[in-house]
Amino acid sequence: MDLTIHLPVLQVIVPMLAAPFVLLLKPRGLAWAGATSVALLSFCIALSMAVTVAGGGHFSYDMGGWPAPYGIELSVGAFSALLLLIVTGAGALSLLAARPSVDQQIEQERQPLFYAAWLLVLAGLVGITVSADAFNIFVFMEISSLASYVLIAGGPDRRALPAVFKYLIMGTIGATFYLIGVGLVYMMTGTLNLADMEARIGGVTDINPILVAAGFITIGLALKAAVFPLHVWLPNAYTHAPHMVTVFLAACATKVAIYVLIRFDFFVFQANLPGHQLQFSLFLLPLALLGILVASSVAMFEGHLKRLLAVSSVAQIGYIMLGASFLTQAGLLASFAHMFNHALAKGGLFLAVACLAIHYRDLRLDQLAGAARSMPLTAAAFVVCGLSLIGIPGTAGFISKWLLIGAALERGFLGFVLVAIILVSSLMALVYIWRVVETLYFKPAVVEAQGPGEAPLQLLLVTWVVALANIGFGLFPQFPLALSSAAAELLLGHTL
């Protein structure tokens, strides 16, 4: 039997079915080992699909053998393959590193529950990515959201609870808006399959419900994706979550929502609604720019290390949306490359924060002064990933910023304004990363570290693997760029 054709469905059901078994692994450390091996297996599945897709392949899978417009279809093209790599890579690497930090933050008897919820988040996120059915995407979105509320609230910090409550309210409103939009489209077209919707929308008698649906879906998913100004749930939720959960979610959770937003819009709406491309562009471009500028300026004055990085994520989402709002091959390429590179940079930064948090309970900047003297390797990894976030040549962040500037310059005079904004916000990133570096390296220590020396080897090793990946993909970006480029072609091919 050829297993290859079953890869899209295995991608989802392996973590989903493994979750209840992880619950049973009570002995110390077993739950972690089980969850980690499942996540690594998911990563291998995603990698093998990505290799096939990068070679021009495409996966399509009919659930239960029911053919596409009637049954539920799973499909993996270049765009989904890129996202799968980000999600499973973030899931596997953060789980690999998780044990020391989780042992510190989560009681032993609750750990199986914690890791089971982690696998459910992973299953939900990959489910969203592989599904080609609008309602299925909603269900997977709720699976991943509900499980991630559990993860965020699972830590010892009581401030996580109001934060997660706010996330739950806003996330549910976002998902319900998406559900209303899907309902309106279904009402007019009678189908839930994205490709079939695209084909049928052209023939509907009344276009107004579809326009309303486009509005609901865009706003709902923008809420989930924390696009400025709908990002208010994000900073607190990421700040007070357990440190490893922040690593995982910051690297991939919002990007999956952006993926659905872009995919839905390009596949279903742009080809069929007159003037929709301009509306999409004019709606998202100002929001992206505001997000970049406002969030970067807030990050410059933020005193808590985790919140600083979380707010910076809002600005980075702005870059991703900016590229997408250009609606050109170059813009989409930059946008997708930035999804990948930002996941690397921000994942690495939060891993370094998790290392610091092993010995420093209070992560406000003034409490971390001089930490580089007791934890030199952690601080160095933070610097490498920070350079990538700023976009220094030789790091992954540089590649996508460079592509974004190139895409902006195609826009004529407006392009120069955009390039100026990108450069200013990169300088702002330099300022806020430098504030952390200055604190870690050059300020006299205020608080003594609670333990001697470096973070545990397991955590430190993964942090450095990610930091080196930032340099590696900065020097040899071919593979993610090939996937991003194919993804951009795929999306634009639909609108022509």
Partner: protein
């Protein structure tokens, strides 16, 4: 649009009103339980929209019987979809209430402004 046409959309008007009431409650109330009640109302409105759109006048359950022909059926798919969405809504509500219980244990209050003051 005359009155009859407006009345013909009765369910959709109810949908819009209930949706707004729910959303308003979520935004305006400071008590966390009341916010969750608003969220439930908000989601119920969507259930109504899905159920309304599948109803075909004179339509019955889609079961094929011997000897009965030209029977009109209501579309069963939205009902199945909304059954799933109801399950999702119930789990969201349960999780939300669980979080409220823990907030109440940790902070001694479930009023949003008092929680903000406590930190």
């Amino acid at each position: 649009m005359n009155l009859l046409e407006l009345l013909g959309y009765f369910n959709y008007w109810v949908f819009a009103i209930v949706l707004s009431v729910g959303l308003y409650t979520v935004i305006a109330k400071v008590n966390l339980v009341k916010k969750l009640i608003g969220l439930s109302i908000f989601q119920s409105a969507v259930f109504l929209m899905y159920i309304t759109m599948d109803k075909v006048e004179g339509g019955t359950a889609p079961i094929i019987q011997k000897g009965v022909e030209n029977q009109v059926f209501s579309n069963p798919l939205p009902q199945v979809l909304i059954l799933t969405a109801i399950v999702v809504g119930v789990s969201t509500l349960a999780l939300g209430l669980a979080i409220v219980v823990r907030i109440s244990e940790c902070y001694g209050t479930i009023e949003e402004d008092e929680i903000l003051d406590a930190d």
